[in-house]
């Protein structure tokens, strides 16, 4: 299998199913007169018109900034708190009920409360995104930290690897596969919360635009917004996977090396 062939094969896998689905959608919706299910053709036609440079600058970029800030905040808080909670049983017992309580509160009803403390600007939106994203990261970190191999723990203790070095060299790397599972989950949750947060007190943003289309009955516009969300999610996940492949190269190498090549 040479290089170009492999790239082509991958590309085929990436586009094949979406192509099939789009085709099905195209023909199934063709000629639809239902305002809420416009023909895909209409949606595609509306796309360049709706997502011109101005709208990308005015709506997409602010959204991206909020998303990335909120996500980064969640990642830092989730991993830090998760490590702490995962490492000490007493801390876990102390915090868990409160955290589980907060976790179950739906963001849309939490937003007004956050608005009380964080105002109505970008800060509020970033906090909303972070509050929603933090849970998968937190939970996965806690579980990952709890599952560190005892032999490795003993090795570290024995060689005096403690404190920050223990975190950096043992606990976090060992939990990293599971932390990445959490980060991956949060990425799409972040996008979802970006939309939700922009339903409140916003005057621009991707979510704002979608809701605006929806309320204004510009249904093809709404559909293009949903498509943009999906594309955004896809692109971010590609970037995410590249990062993960790098950071977890040892892990994937370990997993793959003993598997038979197909």
């Amino acid at each position: 299998m040479n290089g170009t062939f492999r790239v082509l094969r991958r590309l085929l896998f990436v586009v094949a199913l979406p192509a099939v689905l789009l085709t099905v959608w195209w023909f199934a919706s063709a000629g639809s007169t239902d305002v809420y299910w416009p023909p895909l053709e209409t949606i595609v036609a509306a796309f360049p018109e709706v997502w011109d440079g101005e709208r990308i600058r005015a709506d997409l970029l602010p959204s991206l900034w909020r998303l990335l800030s909120g996500y980064a905040l969640a990642a830092v808080v989730g991993v830090a708190l998760g490590t702490l909670i995962g490492s000490y049983r007493t801390v876990r017992a102390f915090c868990e009920p409160v955290l589980e309580f907060l976790r179950a509160v739906p963001p849309p009803v939490l937003v007004p409360v956050i608005m009380l403390f964080a105002g109505i600007g970008d800060g509020m939106k970033i906090v909303v995104i972070a509050v929603g994203c933090v849970w998968p990261i937190l939970l996965n970190t806690v579980e990952g930290v709890r599952a560190v191999d005892p032999v490795m723990t003993e090795t570290a203790r024995c060689y005096g690897v403690g404190g920050a070095a223990r975190l950096r060299h043992l606990v976090l790397p060992s939990a990293s596969p599971q932390i990445f599972a959490g980060l991956r989950q949060s990425l799409s949750i972040g996008i979802i919360l970006m939309v939700i947060s922009e339903m409140f007190a916003a005057s621009n943003g991707l979510g704002f635009a979608i809701v605006q289309f929806q309320r204004g009955f510009a249904i093809p516009g709404m559909w293009t917004g949903i498509l943009v969300l999906g594309l955004l999610g896809f692109l971010l996940s590609v970037v995410f996977q590249l990062v993960e492949r790098r950071v977890l190269s040892w892990y994937h190498g370990l997993r793959d090396s003993s598997r038979r090549s197909p």
Binding site: I120, A201, S203, F208, R215, F217
Partner: protein, 301 residues
């Protein structure tokens, strides 16, 4: 689940037709609850099943897909829907302004100590409305215009009615177009009303209407007729019995008891005021609400 069989959208048994109505659980729809309780709808052979939803996002598609037979929506939304080809038909009046400045069920309020005394002072300030590009920002713009200001200099943000008092109080926003009960709450926290924007548009402004889908109107003209007749009767009854309205509010809202007597109730005339709707349409056109001019003949009954 309220209905077991999805295909059974409206059922009639023994001469009584059950229809689902998508409503927003606010003061505006009190006549329906009252009329139902007083047997007005029953008299017309209708049984209403009220489904509270948060706004047009849920009600309009529900009506269009015949999940609800009727829905409640403000005029601007209906005109926007109509101009976008959503097959909606307004059926009967919903709610109208009281026509008295300073004594309407919706008003433009600012923080007490802000030094803002008229709508003109809102130039360059942040004003909250519940939905952008809809009836409330259009009417506020008219208030600003009437006060001699430039509406394009006002910055609008979207905040739900119930969060307006807090946002106003904390200074996050400078003004808010609030309706009851948020309006009374805001005032009780020290906010002052600088304009009655609905009245500024027209002292007979029809703010909202009940509507159905074109398809349903065509297939069930008699049900629509019954609904129209019964609702008109209910509106008239509600307009004449404010105390009973306040009473019925406790059954479907949670408006605190101390707030209830202070609420300003809207007017519920039986007939729509076409002239005021045309004014609203023209204002909306100016603000770019529609892709093409709404066809009021097709929309209104």
């Amino acid at each position: 689940g309220s209905s077991d069989d999805p295909s059974d959208k409206s059922s009639s048994s023994g001469g009584v037709t059950t229809v689902k109505v998508g409503v927003i659980p606010i003061v505006d729809v009190a006549p329906l609850y009252l009329g139902q309780e007083k047997g007005i709808f029953g008299k017309h052979g209708l049984k209403l099943e009220m489904t509270p939803a948060q706004g047009g996002a849920a009600i309009v598609p529900g009506v269009v897909s015949n999940q609800f037979q009727f829905g409640f929506s403000n005029m601007a939304s209906l005109m926007i829907a109509q101009s976008n080809g959503v097959p909606v038909r307004a059926v009967v009046n919903g709610v109208a302004t009281t026509g008295e400045k300073g004594k309407d069920f919706g008003g433009l309020v600012v923080k007490g100590d802000s030094g803002i005394t008229s709508a003109k002072d809102l130039e360059g300030k942040k004003v909250a409305v519940n939905t952008l590009k809809n009836i409330n920002d259009t009417t506020v713009r008219e208030s600003v215009r009437e006060a001699g200001g430039d509406p394009s200099k006002v910055k609008f943000v979207e905040i739900a009615f119930d969060q307006m008092p807090a946002a106003l109080d904390s200074g996050e926003i400078d003004g808010a177009m609030a309706v009851e009960p948020a309006l009374t709450t805001a005032k009780s926290q020290g906010a002052v009303e600088v304009a009655s924007s609905y009245v500024d548009v027209s002292d007979r402004l029809t703010v909202a209407m009940y509507f159905t889908s074109a398809q349903y109107a065509q297939q069930n003209p008699e049900v629509v007729e019954k609904f129209e007749a019964a609702t008109k009767e209910a509106l008239a009854y509600a307009d004449g019995h404010p105390d009973e309205v306040r009473e019925i509010l406790t059954s479907y809202t949670k408006i605190p008891a101390d707030l209830l007597p202070q609420l300003t109730l809207p007017k519920w005339p039986a007939e729509v005021d076409r002239g005021s709707i045309e004014t609203l349409r023209d204002l909306g056109e100016k603000d770019g609400l529609y892709t093409k001019t709404p066809d009021l003949d097709a929309l209104l009954p």
